[in-house]
Amino acid sequence: MWSHEVIMMIVEGIRDTLYMVLVSTICGYILGLPWGVVLAVTDKDGIRPNQGVYSVLSFITNIMRSIPFLILLILIIPFTRMIVGRSYGSTATIVPLTISAAPFIARMVESSLKEVDHGVIEAAQSMGASIMQIILKVLLVEARVSLISGATITLGTILGYSAMAGTVGGGGLGDIAIRYGYYRYQADIMVVTVILLVVLVQIFQFIGTLIGTKLDKRHA
């Protein structure tokens, strides 16, 4: 049962899962961070309110957030194929994961940036800081603890999605759990993969909290 092949398969599963989750999160932030910044900046209490931009962007964010991941996964298969050349395997799964993570991240970033004390922003404005300087040197810096905690939550969510992608040949631990646990009734392998997923979430959370605490200078 616990042959060399099975163990190797699980190790590869862990590797694939980490690969999908980390790359998707990075790509998700490349899209979602500026997106969230624009949302926070153009909102009516933002530093450059613009109702038109905010409404359109917010509407798109909501639409994308409301498509269930499994549907999105199938819906964008042609697009995935166009980008990576095929629609199965862990690299292909990164495309729908990124697309579903980006609006989620955008909302996370938006809410983190809105937590920044308005007085501090006003102080920066009174010194003559430009919009860009306020974003880069005030908002993103002052909100960093909240941003890190948002990234930790995002990692956990994407990990869950990546397991879901296993049902359609997405690769990684979720894929193994479905193939062995569900189709071949090998519950022991499924239990092991589930435990491994739990352990991964715990590790992400631990690292996220550690970095967050380390970076937080708001307490004496």
Binding site: G119, V120, E122, S126, G128, S130, K137, V141, K217, R218
Partner: protein, 348 residues
């Protein structure tokens, strides 16, 4: 020409439901080197007024001219550049909590393109000025309120501004810390000639440090001039309440609503007595005037209120006296006080 000229300034805030007229037809001239107080109760519009002076709030009407620049006519970039010559400090300090003290002070320099090494050198000098050079590496959360305001002052001075705006800068501090911050502001004003505009609701702050004052009530300036003049002869209702009754502006409304409560501020005395308010000026404050008067007339007077203080190196203050019953004696006492250079007026 004044360093700050405000003409016909009005500011209206409109929401879907209603419009609020925060400021109405404000004219203000602040001369270079002044310490100018703007006092009023909360909601009077003074915070909006100070934000119009650096265009953090754009006036609905009127002009603000700072060092000859009409702020309304500047481009975004020009306005941002001009702001480097207008420092500002706040009630809640508004420091960057995730940056060290020295990085906070460097911040305005960096955003205006000063190199890092040079900015740090400048910041260290400023921290010495405010007496916090040993806290350079600390984070704001590790400092007390007074220390945080000192950091904010150092930061506001980083770009060598001509003007320093203080928005309720001492309102969150205890009296002793307030005193030390005011001393610091006065020293900086004396040493650099910087113009300071102080928004406050505490008359004590104005008396302590300002040479000019404007009293704001319901979005309008009801009285303005030299602190000395307004203190000696307050004309407006707001000024009289502020100075004679010694009420903080926060209490103005409630005092109107509840006259019974207002009476609690003065000690009740015999009803037939006449009350006078006397104001001490520099020439009389070293003489024990009241004691001498009592010795001269062999009649006691009742001191209902006394508040004397050293202002800008000159002793100044006021008293409210209850005079004994005899009308003729009262007049002689008043004449006696006037002879000694005191401003005397009757109060209710």
């Amino acid at each position: 020409m004044s360093i700050i000229e405000v003409r016909g300034l009005s500011k209206t805030f409109s929401t879907k439901e209603n419009t609020v007229e925060a400021l109405r037809d404000i004219d203000l001239d602040i001369e270079a080197g002044d310490i100018y107080g703007i006092i009023g109760m909360s909601g009077a519009g003074k915070s909006t007024l100070v934000r119009c002076l650096n265009y953090l709030e754009t006036p609905t009407q009127g002009t603000v001219v700072v060092e000859g620049n009409d702020l309304g006519k500047l481009t975004d970039k020009q306005l941002r550049d001009l702001r480097s010559s207008i420092g500002m400090i706040f009630q809640s300090f508004n420091l960057l909590m995730q940056r060290t003290v020295i990085d906070n002070v460097c911040f305005p320099l960096i955003i205006h393109g000063t190199g890092r090494a040079e900015a740090r050198k400048k910041a260290m000098t400023l921290l010495e000025t405010v007496g916090l050079s040993d806290k350079a590496a600390a984070y704001p959360a590790q400092l007390s309120g007074g220390q945080r305001q000192r950091v904010a002052i150092a930061r506001a001075l980083a770009c060598d501004p001509k003007i320093l705006l203080c928005d309720e800068a001492t309102s969150a501090l205890d009296p002793q810390t307030t005193q030390s911050i005011l001393d610091l502001l006065r020293t900086i004003n004396r040493d650099t000639g910087i113009t300071i505009v102080i928004i406050t609701h505490q008359m004590s702050v104005v008396r302590e440090i300002c040479n000019h004052v404007a009293i704001v009530e319901n979005g309008s300036i009801v009285e303005k001039g030299l602190v000395e003049d307004i203190f000696t002869h307050p004309k407006s209702r707001a000024a009289r309440q502020l100075i004679i009754e010694g009420k903080d502006p926060d209490e103005w409304e409630s005092a109107q609503d509840a006259p019974a409560k207002a009476d609690a501020h003065t000690v009740p005395i015999l009803h037939e007595d006449r009350k006078i308010r006397i104001v001490f000026s520099s020439n009389s404050s070293f003489e024990p005037v009241i004691a001498n008067m009592i010795l001269t007339f062999h009649e006691p007077v009742n001191i209902l209120k006394a508040d004397t203080k050293d202002v800008n190196g000159v002793a100044r203050g006021e008293m409210i006296l209850g005079l004994p019953g005899d009308r003729e004696l009262q007049d002689r006492m008043i004449a006696h006080l006037k002879e000694r250079g005191l401003a005397v007026e009757e109060v209710e």
